[in-house]
Every structure is written in structure tokens, then in C-alpha cells.
């Protein structure tokens, strides 16, 4: 099943959605980092999303993007209302 497009910005398709429901900090950032690494050299430009209740994700996902050269696109909500954070990978993973 493909992930829903990012609601915060029309036309942004999500390439991969990570489910971190119920997991504590820093699991959402770890999941993003591992998914980004898994893409290797072809990571740049891919759009990843992480679904997480962890209140720290709201701060830590944008901070991860700033530190690692990715772009934080914003947050929307998954079907069940849980926050979904969306990023576009930069060059460095």
C-alpha cells in the first residue's frame, strides 16, 4: 500500500512511510536515519514520513534535518490522527 501524499503541500508524494506508533524518543529519528542510510547514494530527493506519538519527534525530526542537511517539509496526520512528520532527504545521509 502506498503512503498518502503530504497534506501540507500539494503534489508531494511520500516514497516511504515509517510506523513508530507507541515507540519512545529517539525511535522516530533512528527509523528515519536508518531508512535514509538504506537508500545509499540514491537517497537525495526521496521523501520519507514517520508516524509517531512521541512528543519529542515534533522537535527532533526538524533538528535532525537541520543537522544532517535534509529538508523538513512539515507535519500532517495519519488516518488515525497520529502526527506524521515528512522530510525530503538531502545529499548526505
Amino acid at each position: 500500500m502506498s503512503a498518502a501524499p503530504f497534506a501540507g503541500s500539494p503534489g508531494v508524494a511520500v516514497d516511504e512511510e515509517l510506523d513508530c506508533r507507541g515507540l519512545p524518543c529517539p525511535a522516530p529519528v533512528l527509523a528515519l536515519a536508518k531508512a535514509a542510510r538504506g537508500r545509499g547514494d540514491g537517497a537525495a530527493g526521496a521523501v520519507l514520513a514517520v508516524v509517531a506519538e512521541d512528543p519529542a519527534a515534533r522537535v527532533d525530526v526538524p533538528a535532525w534535518c537541520r543537522m544532517r542537511g535534509h529538508a523538513y517539509l512539515g507535519a500532517d496526520a495519519a488516518d488515525d490522527g497520529v502526527a506524521r512528520h515528512v522530510v525530503r532527504l538531502g545529499g548526505a545521509v
Binding site: 524518543c25 529517539p26 536515519a33 536508518k34 527532533d60 543537522m67
Partner: protein, 405 residues
């Protein structure tokens, strides 16, 4: 010789022998002075003396009462002169938190007619946030939060916008931040507060008193003695003469009309002795400790990849450094560093009772996991910093390897 370790605060390195199983060559080093400092030797002496001579009720007119009154008045005078206040502006409270709570609620009460808004920066101590919540629930005030920049300094344009409706009863802006060390531009803040209808300023100075002079811009100020080497359980509430502060607590019949209950005369006296002593040493110790913090600030991101050094690079307290390590749990870092012989603080969610990340780090957009707060003290040695820098990279690398990164 006694086998009891001599608390060496102020006389040399502050070390606690490691667990008896471990070799004593690596003592445990406390780098968490912003949480608490041991009694300054001057305070220890003063505390014993005041327990002996100042136990009586300072309101009593007999010999012992007069002696207690003398010690209390003396403590008030010393603390007032250290803070740039008048003695009758200074009240001893049971904690810094109590001073912040009563300071805030008293200004909200005194300024009820001027406005129903309690304004504070996004990085104030939770004591301010809780007092504002209490005021909202019990007295119907509303709370207006003023944003800070990524370094943690208050955004002066946002502050002007917050004051512009002229409905603000009081503005709470800390002297410096307890978690990241960032100093606030109190002179600019006070100018704005004065321009928009003489809004009184509550300055929570708990993090900075003992390290640097209290800036003069407060209407109400709060401080906490155990952070400068006084005993725990002593706070200071300073209320400027003429400030629109009305006691939010039931009245009491003490000599100081703001005091609640029988004063802790020994605690106040010992706190005053410690404050006088640390301020006399603060220029030298501040300079020395600032050089060590500068070194940590340069070396930590050089030695450890993917570190977010947090706080204003220039406007900051001399003894405090905060950084966050990507992919690492704060709790795991606290435990691993404790095992390696270092006591540190952390603002990460997993180290908090609420499991919420630090609102200070969040307001600054700083990474909240893997957070380390180092707060040095006058006894911290160069070799302690060397050893910390030697063990940190390996610990972070191991914790990252444990989670597959």
C-alpha cells in the same frame, strides 16, 4: 586521619571517591552544579554558629530573640548588598521555586486592574510556567508566551508585540537560562516593559546568582541558595520598594511582612555567608571556569560527530554548557557517564518525570534527545575536563553502535 571524605568545596577539587570496588584513581566528578552545590565552607561555619546562637524567635524581645533577630537582619543586609537591593526589599523563602511562585502571583494580584495577562518567555523555568497556569486557573488571568531565537534569547520584536495591547500585568524574563546558560538582554527588555505602560519585570535569577551580579532591572527577583553553595531549602524573594506587589498568601505576624512563618535564621545566615564568599571569588573562578567551558564548547563537536551545541555562543553563563548527541538516549548517556565517573544533567524526555522533552530545548528548536548539561563549579580542574573529553567520544560511539547507527 578520618576516613570520611572531606568535602573539598572551595579548598580544592570537588571529588567523591568512586564505588569501593573501583580503584580510587578515578574519583567521581560532579559536573551538575546547576542542580545543586555542596555547602560552601563559609556556610558550614555560619550554619553551626547560627544554630547555636540564632535558634530563638527573632520577634521575641529577650536576649536570645534579639540575637536571632541580629543574625537574620545581618543575613538580609548581606544578601541585599550582594543583589543590589535594600535590606527591606529582601525576604527569605523556603526555596527558589516558592520565591518565583509568590513573586509572580503577587505581581499578578497587585496589577489586577492594569491587566489580566501574565507574559513570559518560552524558556522560563517550569516554576514560572506552573505559577502562570495556577494564576490562570485560580484568578482567571491569561498567559502570553514570548518566543526566543535559536540561541534562546528573547525575540524583542515578539516581546514588543506581546506588550503592545497594554493588557500585561507582569512580564517574567529570567536573568539566564538554567538549562542552556543563555543570558537575556534585560536592559532592552526593561526598556520595552517601561515603554508599554510600566509593566513590572519578574527576574528569575536562580541560575545566575553566585556567578555574576544581578542586573538592576527587576521589580521582583528570585534566587535559590543551594545553587550558590548555601544550604537547601532557602530561597530569596526580592520586591522593589514601590513595586505593585500584593502578597498572594495569607498574612503572618512576622517582622518581615512578606515572610511566611518562623524564619529559618540559620539557613538564611549560612546562605548569606556563602553568597558573600562565592561572589568574592566569582571573578577569578568565573574566568577560570569559563575558559574550561570554552574548551569543551570547541572540543566536544570536534571529537563527537553529529552534536548540536545549544545556547547563545556569546551571551551565556560562564559555568554551563549544553549539547545534544544525535541517535542517543539521554538516560543512557547519563547512566554511562555516571559509570565513567561523571555526574551530568539532561533535558531529554526520557530523563524527565513527565516524559516530555525539555520545553527550553523545544522552544529553541534544539535536538532534545541525547542531551547533556554540564555545569562546572569553582573546584572543577583542567584534568577533569581532559578526562571527560577522553571518555565522551567512546561512550557516544558505543551507544550509537548499540542502536545500529
Amino acid at each position: 586521619m578520618s576516613s570520611i571524605p572531606r568535602p573539598a568545596w572551595g579548598y580544592g577539587p570537588r571529588v567523591i571517591p568512586g564505588p569501593s570496588a573501583a580503584p580510587s584513581s578515578s574519583p567521581w566528578i560532579d559536573l551538575d552544579s546547576a542542580s545543586a552545590r555542596p555547602l560552601h565552607p563559609a556556610a558550614r561555619e555560619a550554619l553551626l554558629l547560627a544554630h547555636e546562637h540564632g535558634y530563638a524567635d527573632p520577634r521575641r524581645l529577650h536576649h536570645a530573640g534579639r540575637r536571632a533577630r541580629q543574625l537574620l537582619d545581618n543575613a538580609r543586609e548581606v544578601v541585599a548588598s550582594c543583589l543590589g537591593a535594600r535590606p527591606d526589599e529582601v525576604t527569605f523563602t523556603g526555596s527558589g521555586t516558592e520565591a518565583v511562585h509568590r513573586g509572580l502571583l503577587g505581581l499578578a494580584r497587585g496589577r489586577r486592574r492594569a491587566g489580566g495577562v501574565v507574559a513570559h518567555t518560552a524558556v522560563e523555568h517550569s516554576a514560572v510556567l506552573h505559577a502562570a497556569d495556577f494564576s490562570a486557573a485560580e484568578h482567571g488571568t491569561t498567559t502570553r508566551v514570548v518566543d526566543v531565537d535559536p540561541g534562546g534569547r528573547v525575540d524583542l520584536d515578539a516581546l514588543a508585540a506581546a506588550l503592545e495591547p497594554r493588557d500585561v500585568a507582569l512580564l517574567a524574563v529570567q536573568g539566564a537560562n538554567h538549562e542552556v546558560g543563555t543570558r537575556q538582554p534585560l536592559a532592552d527588555v526593561a526598556r520595552l516593559a517601561a515603554a508599554y505602560g510600566d509593566v513590572p519585570l519578574l527576574v528569575d535569577a536562580c541560575a545566575s546568582v553566585g556567578w555574576e551580579p544581578l542586573p538592576a532591572e527587576w521589580s521582583v527577583a528570585a534566587a535559590s541558595a543551594h545553587k550558590w553553595g548555601g544550604p537547601p531549602g532557602v530561597g530569596v524573594l526580592a520586591v522593589r520598594k514601590g513595586a505593585r506587589w500584593r502578597d498572594p498568601s495569607p498574612a503572618d505576624d512576622r517582622g518581615d511582612r512578606r515572610a511566611l512563618g518562623f524564619e529559618d535564621v540559620p539557613g538564611a545566615f549560612a546562605s548569606a555567608a556563602a553568597l558573600q564568599a562565592v561572589l568574592a571569588e566569582s571573578e577569578e573562578s568565573g574566568r577560570r571556569v569559563a575558559a574550561l567551558v570554552d574548551r569543551l564548547r570547541t572540543e566536544v563537536p570536534r571529537l563527537v560527530p553529529d552534536v548540536d551545541v545549544v545556547g547563545d555562543p556569546v551571551h551565556r553563563l560562564p559555568h554551563l554548557l549544553t549539547f545534544s548527541c544525535l541517535y542517543v538516549e539521554g538516560e543512557a548517556l547519563v547512566t554511562a557517564l555516571d559509570g565513567a565517573g561523571f555526574g551530568i544533567g539532561s533535558g531529554s524526555a526520557c530523563t524527565a518525570s513527565t516524559h516530555e522533552p525539555s520545553h527550553v530545548l523545544a522552544a529553541m528548536g534544539a535536538l532534545t534527545h541525547g542531551n547533556v548539561r554540564l555545569s562546572l563549579h569553582p573546584g572543577t580542574r583542567e584534568e577533569d575536563v581532559d578526562r571527560f573529553l577522553a571518555v565522551l567520544p567512546g561512550i557516544v560511539a558505543r551507544l550509537r553502535a548499540d542502536v545500529g547507527l
